[in-house]
């Protein structure tokens, strides 16, 4: 599977216009231009999951006892070093079929679950958002597809910066 820049860009534009995402729920997410009204439309708010401090508990609250299997079909685009920890651009796209949700977790944040998106049938499974990161941490994206969980993880460094040669 080759995801071209063009596809990425087109997706981003859809997200920006609010057409590609039916529900935006989450903490620490800076909604781009997505009308807030859309967020209320779909599914109920996973209140318990957003209360959990650590990643494992958040995943359990969100997905029950299921565990995520690392998959190279889940592509995450995140920086190696955040240019600004308060606004880290992260996107996820997958070639998996039957995707029902995409979630983002930051293990070292005070509350691990950052955002969880419901993906309606027939929607391109692609999400782009900007998150806050308190410090250097693993960032995990979990894709729910066909009732199973798949993941990709990347460490993103947060630094005070300066002093480059």
């Amino acid at each position: 599977m080759n995801i071209t820049d063009r596809e990425f860009s087109a997706t981003r534009r859809l997200v920006l216009k609010g057409a590609g995402v039916a529900a935006l729920i989450g903490l620490g997410v800076l909604p781009l231009d997505v009308p807030q009204a859309l967020a209320a439309a779909n599914d109920k708010y996973p209140e318990e999951a957003f209360k959990q401090k650590n990643e494992a508990d958040a995943i359990k609250a969100l997905y029950g006892g299921r565990t995520a299997e690392p998959s190279d079909q889940v592509k995450m685009d995140a920086p190696e070093i955040a240019e600004n920890g308060a606004v880290v651009p992260v996107s996820a796209i997958t070639t998996l079929t039957g995707v029902t949700s995409i979630s983002f977790l930051v293990s070292e944040n005070p509350v691990a679950l950052v955002a969880s998106y419901r993906i309606p049938d027939g929607t391109l499974p692609s999400v782009s958002n900007r998150i806050k990161m308190a410090k250097t941490s693993n960032l995990t994206v979990i894709v729910e597809a066909g009732g199973k969980l798949y993941s990709a993880t990347k460490e993103v460094k947060v630094t005070v910066g300066g002093c480059g040669g």
Partner: protein
């Protein structure tokens, strides 16, 4: 003139894309130091990190350049005698002087200054003439426009002129970005070559607002690559700008742009050149830094050679890296105009059959300065240099900058900050540019500017707690010694004045720095507040530019500070990246 042929030849070397280790060239028959044996059918000349040094300079290579983990003892993390042994360079030779810190002061008197664009121009022209018309390319790896008072004052315009006369055909950038978008674009409109950067993209906001981009569809701000034809073969040159510009420097200079290593995008670009454009060779002109390039070479396939810079490592031989698609050679070509890299390629259809690489020191005493370039240098300097030529002081001992933890030049800057800004602790950035001054040499404002001329030179005095100070040291140290090269930014450890500490480079962040003490011997207290002076902050500051602070300090004629740098290293016994603490 005391440089003899046998002083120079040891470092000439050949490399092959097929063997595990590069072979050494047979140089015994070479008639002169810059008369190279003909090889292959295309020649690529590479300079990098010249830092606008139009005139020849002294520049001492580091005596501390530690590698940790998998990088320990591997090039570029070798210094002094270990470096000479690894690359088969004879001690006492001119090459030993150019490539290492061994007996630097003695050798400096014997072999003289290196670099200078007039001397470089003579050498470039000769090496291009040797292979004939349209058989060569000249590439610059960035950090061309910054590093002198002149370049800072005219915002790199002097270097654009010099680059055009030198004949640079493509470049990428790092400090170039610190002039901001408008100056960068103005300069590039006068630059006759191509500015290449595959890893600079518009931010989402900038893209949404239709900000200027080379390719709006992908958001790429600059042309990512160019295909050049030599002798009927097609060579793709891809540019890789410094990946961490908005982190290492104030973000206000590049608010609309996102950087990063972007190796997935790079792989797609390489594949497209290979599969669609059917090029015969792919070269990455990189400002990643050598450790990052070595890791990148193990992950991205299809690149023949990475011509590297940023970390200022003068490495005589390419390092061969094996990856899933074959091998990639990784080079790094030093700094401050000291070196000219010569990459001779033997191209066949769709493939580089063989390679020969040499990193030639530019010995100014062996090269007649080119008169047109000399005239250009004189002309661009003329309106400014008289203001900067008054002697401020005389160097009482060798003043150099390079070294992971400290350098005598930076100690001088820290002393100036401590004294002139009346602070207990001074912090000064671990930049790797800035020439060396020999003992007895007069120091002028031009010399001070060559160590400090940046677009954010303002000093500050801040109150910081002991734990905040430790956090800063830990953070910068992690940028240098993180086990993952992709999490390193290049540059050296922040320099400290008024403070001593111990460092264990092999530890992880938060655990490297210990035993912080003030110069009076008292331990730094986590909750206590201290008066800290510094400069080159990524946050906007309003104090006097640091060059004025240093000049004031020098004019005051205070007795020199002979204290040893207060850094104790743990766990580095036997590491060939340390000769002595410097």
């Amino acid at each position: 003139m005391s440089i003899r042929r046998r002083d120079l030849l040891a470092a000439t070397a050949a490399a092959t894309l097929t063997a595990g280790l590069p072979r050494r060239a047979r140089a015994a028959d070479t008639p002169g130091v810059y008369d190279l044996e003909r090889f292959g059918n295309a020649r690529i000349l590479h300079i990098t990190d010249t830092h606008a040094q139009l005139k020849p300079v002294f520049f001492r290579e580091p005596s501390v350049n530690l590698g940790v983990g998998a990088m320990a003892g591997q090039p570029p993390h070798l210094v002094g005698k270990a470096f000479l042994d690894r690359f088969g360079i004879r001690p006492d030779s001119a090459d030993a002087y150019a490539f290492t810190c061994v007996e630097f002061e003695k050798a400096a008197g014997r072999f003289g200054k290196l670099g200078g664009f007039a001397h470089l121009k003579t050498l470039v022209d000769k090496l291009r003439a040797d292979v004939g018309e349209r058989r060569s390319l000249l590439l610059d790896g960035g950090d061309l426009w910054q590093g002198t008072g002149l370049a800072n004052t005219v915002k790199g315009a002097d270097m654009v002129e010099a680059a055009n006369l030198l004949g640079i055909e493509a470049m990428t950038g790092h400090w170039e970005f610190t002039y901001g978008e408008q100056v960068l674009r103005d300069n590039l409109s006068r630059f006759k070559g191509e500015f290449l950067a595959q890893n600079v993209f518009l931010t989402d906001e900038a893209a949404f607002n239709d900000a200027k981009a080379f390719d709006p569809a992908s958001g790429r701000v600059f042309r990512p690559s160019v295909i050049k034809e030599i002798a009927g073969f097609r060579i793709a040159i891809i540019g890789q700008a410094f990946p961490y510009v908005p982190i290492a420097h104030p973000r206000r200079f590049t608010p609309d742009w996102r950087f990063g290593i972007r190796d997935e995008e790079l792989q797609k670009l390489v594949d497209s050149h290979r599969n669609t454009d059917k090029v015969d060779a792919v070269i990455l002109l990189s400002h990643n830094g050598m450790d990052v390039d070595l890791k990148l070479a193990s992950r991205v396939t299809g690149i023949d050679v990475i011509l590297g810079g940023h970390t200022h490592d003068a490495i005589p031989l390419p390092i061969t890296v094996t990856n899933a698609g074959g091998v990639t050679l990784v080079t790094n070509a030093g700094s401050n105009g000291k070196f000219l890299a010569v990459l001779d390629l033997e191209l066949t259809r769709g493939k580089v059959a063989n390679v020969r690489y040499r990193l030639l020191p530019v010995f100014s005493e062996l090269l007649k300065p080119d008169s047109t370039m000399q005239a250009l240098i004189d002309r661009v300097r003329e309106p400014h240099v008289t203001d900067w030529s008054d002697k401020l002081a005389t160097a009482d001992h060798l003043l150099y900058r390079r070294g992971n933890f400290s350098g005598t030049m930076d100690q001088l800057i820290c002393d100036a900050l401590l004294n002139e800004l009346d602070s207990e602790i001074a912090l000064s950035p671990g930049f790797r540019w800035g020439p060396t001054a020999l003992a007895g040499q007069p120091l002028t404002m031009e010399d001070v500017l060559a160590e400090t001329a940046i677009t954010y030179p303002e000093t500050y005095v801040a109150t910081m707690t002991g734990s905040q100070i430790k956090d800063v040291l830990e953070d910068v140290c992690d940028n240098l010694f993180n086990a993952d090269p992709y999490h390193q930014q290049g540059g050296d450890m922040v320099r400290v004045g008024g403070l001593a500490y111990a460092c264990t480079p092999a530890e992880s962040i938060g655990k490297r720095i210990s035993e912080l003490k003030l110069r009076n011997g008292r331990h730094l207290e986590a909750g206590k507040r201290y008066r800290v002076a510094g400069w080159a902050s990524v946050n906007e500051q309003s104090g006097a530019p640091v060059w004025d602070i240093v000049a004031r300090h020098l004019r005051a004629g205070r007795p020199p500070n002979r204290d040893a740098p207060g850094v104790t290293l743990n766990g580095v016994e036997g590491n060939p990246g340390i000769a002595r603490l410097g």
